[in-house]
């Protein structure tokens, strides 16, 4: 597609009910051209749509789509900083991923940029919006925050208790992980994918493996499909349980915090017994699984946990002081959620009933029936209830998958397809995770683009903070269930 045709094609796609999922750029011929690609999802069970255009390497320009499609704003800024494509007419032309003061000699994702070259950096002030008024106070919070939390800075402009504007500065943890994949063998890239977001190791490695399998046209064995489903749901389980522990911490429900974190610990220990890793790492590989798993003790271990989980979740729903802090807190309207790119439980709590497991099934999700919980309230309590139902659904899915799992091999051979490209996806505990991989002629990874759910939801979250109050901030943030590592990469 020619660059000038992209805006029209995007318009047509949106009118037909499509929703943009992400955008990225890569260098098929370094020094000669750069390609920009937009990924969109249309109706459930319909294939994903790519809009792609090639630009000349010297001063590449493209019309910004962010005014029509706000959720693309961050992707375009990221492409601008890491791949050197300028977007004309961008509504927020400020640095995003690379902080003020970072001056790489050339766009870091250009393959000609040396993999071990640290970019020059001088400390420069942060370009944040001026807010005027005698009574307006400012509060910089972070990047080193209270407790054991990931690094991020939240800048509040407030009057008394009321927050006027909340301006997060993220990407303190930008490690340049997408660059790290360059030149790596596809079989080893899975180890990197597991480290993008440590608590979403399965979501990331599964999306990565599926992208490689798509690029190589590889079908994985039936048993591997079921085992992957079990692993993905175990990951959702421990993440959601931890989520409730942390949420109770913010509403100061102490016993609820202890119980939620204890259940998350027990869930992690089950992961350890089953796979050797509390984070379910070192088990997936392109083509299937690295080794077979013995599921015989899993149902019994989960059966012991289930009544405790049920009692715990019900007790929270019957505690007025806890509910009082959640209901109407951090309201996210449907239209905002849709336009700004909300994903996962956050999106489903605002009335968008989409889930990759049901809409674009992978692993064994098309062999197992499941409910996708949806709420329309859009507040913290709705986000909480979605996760409660998902916990029950996960336990049911694991039990059924463990019962139905067929015998057989757990991996198939990956034929090395040089020059292949593929898309993989996974609905992780936090939402949609996408991997786009491009292989070079030697069969090594040329470009891996990662779309993590927290990147999407961090864009949405501040919109629910403006015009609220300070006391609700921590509760609202906890109700979103965000990570920094996945967002910053």
């Amino acid at each position: 597609m020619r660059p000038e045709e992209i805006p029209q094609a995007c318009d047509d796609l949106m009118k037909a009910g499509g929703r943009l999922q992400m955008a990225y750029a890569w260098f098929p011929a370094p020094g000669q051209s750069v390609e920009v690609a937009y990924l969109a999802a249309t109706a459930p069970h319909e294939p994903f749509v790519f809009l792609r255009c090639s630009l000349p390497a010297d001063s590449p320009h493209l019309q910004s789509l962010a005014p029509q499609v706000p959720l693309l704003g961050w992707y375009e800024r990221e492409i601008q900083e890491l791949c050197g494509v300028t977007f004309d007419g961008h509504p927020e032309p400020r640095p995003l991923v690379l902080h003020e003061g970072a001056h790489p000699t050339m766009p870091p994702l250009d393959p000609r940029y040396q993999p071990d070259e640290m970019m020059p950096f001088t400390s420069e002030p942060w370009d944040r919006p001026p807010v005027e008024g005698d009574d307006v106070q400012t509060l910089p919070f972070g990047p080193v925050r209270a407790d054991v939390l990931e690094s991020a800075q939240i800048f509040f402009y407030y009057i008394g208790e009321a927050i006027l504007h909340c301006h997060p500065r993220l990407f303190f943890k930008h490690r340049g992980m997408e660059k790290r994949f360059e030149g790596t063998l596809p079989s080893l890239g899975v180890v990197l994918a597991e480290l993008i977001s440590g608590v979403d190791s399965i979501a990331h490695s599964l999306a990565y493996c599926q992208a490689i399998e798509a690029a190589c046209g590889c079908e994985i064995p039936e048993r591997a499909r079921y085992l992957r489903t079990v692993l993905a749901e175990l990951e959702r389980l421990y993440n959601h349980l931890h989520y409730f522990g942390h949420l109770c911490h913010t509403t100061t429900l102490k016993v609820g915090e202890a119980q939620g974190k204890l259940l998350a610990e027990q869930s992690k220990q089950i992961n350890g017994i089953l796979t050797g890793s509390r984070f379910l790492r070192g088990i997936l590989k392109p083509g299937g699984l690295r080794r077979d798993l013995d599921l015989s003790t899993l149902p019994e271990m989960l059966n012991r946990l289930q009544p405790e989980i049920t009692t715990y979740l019900r007790s929270m729903e019957e505690t007025n002081s806890h509910l009082d802090r959640l209901i109407t807190t951090g309201h996210l309207p449907l239209q905002t959620a849709y336009d700004q790119g909300a994903t996962g439980p956050v999106k489903r709590a605002s009335g968008i009933g989409r889930d990759l497991r049901g809409d674009h099934p992978y692993a064994a999700y098309d062999r197992l029936t499941m409910n996708i919980p949806v709420r329309t309230e859009g507040d913290a309590h709705a986000r909480v209830q979605i996760r409660m139902e998902e916990i029950h659904e996960s336990l049911s899915l694991i039990a059924r998958a463990a019962k139905d799992v067929p015998e057989g091999p757990v991996s198939s051979e990956i034929s090395n397809v040089s020059g292949g490209e593929g898309l993989g996806w996974c609905e992780g505990a936090r939402g949609s995770t996408y991997y786009c991989v491009h292989l070079d002629n030697a069969g090594r990874l040329a470009r891996v683009k990662i779309k993590s759910p927290s990147f999407s939801n961090w864009r949405v979250f501040p919109l629910t903070v403006h015009d609220t109050n300070m006391m609700d901030y921590a509760i609202n943030e906890a109700s979103f269930g965000l990570t920094m590592a996945g967002c910053d990469r």
């Binding site: 640290m118 939390l149 690094s151 943890k173 079989s187 480290l195 050797g276 890793s277 920094m484 590592a485």
Partner: protein
Amino acid sequence: MPVWTLYGIRRGIATTSWPEKEGPTQPGVLGLPHYHADRCQDNCRACADVCLPGALSFESCEAEERLALDYGKCIGCQLCTEACPNDALTKSNDWAFGVRNRDDLIWTEALQSPPAEEVTRKIQKYFGRSLHVRHVDAGSCNGCESELQALNNPYYNLHRLGIFFTPSPRFADLLLVTGPVTYAMQGPLRETYNAMPEPRWVMAMGACAVSGGASGGGYSCGHGVEEFLPVDIYVPGCPPNPAAMIHALLLLLNRASQHVQGGQVAH
């Protein structure tokens, strides 16, 4: 409405008896691989070829090449144990690996490294019974944070050992750093350290903080905390098991002994 106090009492005690009493706290969890030098065949290189963080490499030694293994870089992905045709590298359940000397994470033929020095008697005197920790995330994958948060859950219950996380560096005795130190976190990390009163200690937690691990280097990352601050305790692992974290904190306080020297676990 539930009475949470009764709920908690009914739930009973969930805390592990470790480390007061011995016993496995994490059945099945794989740790860092064991190296059996006698089984290693020359010039095979299968292990080094699959080692992404470069924990396994070959170095020249008296006209022959031999395998060098650095647990400070190992992320425990177990790929080498699957690649080795001779079982020279095998899976293990070892996790208690906190060391005072970075060299003790590098495998050596004999246990030739000098016995680790006592950090200082001051620690025992002033902090032997209590320690306040300020954590700084300098670009981790969130795996280390997840396990650090687990230390305060009822199972590990870190408070019972007199160790607390503190919000302010002004009240902290120990700076606990995770992540390879990204360019953007260099400043905040230094400022946090400078805000701490002396005497103060630094702990590098996880393969990233010890050596950069699999994410160190590149256009935006350093190769661990050592490049920026003096490190007193190194805890490898990706992420270290919560029990290994507790062991390392007790090691700092001279309340536990070092389990590893010359890259080998003393049994």
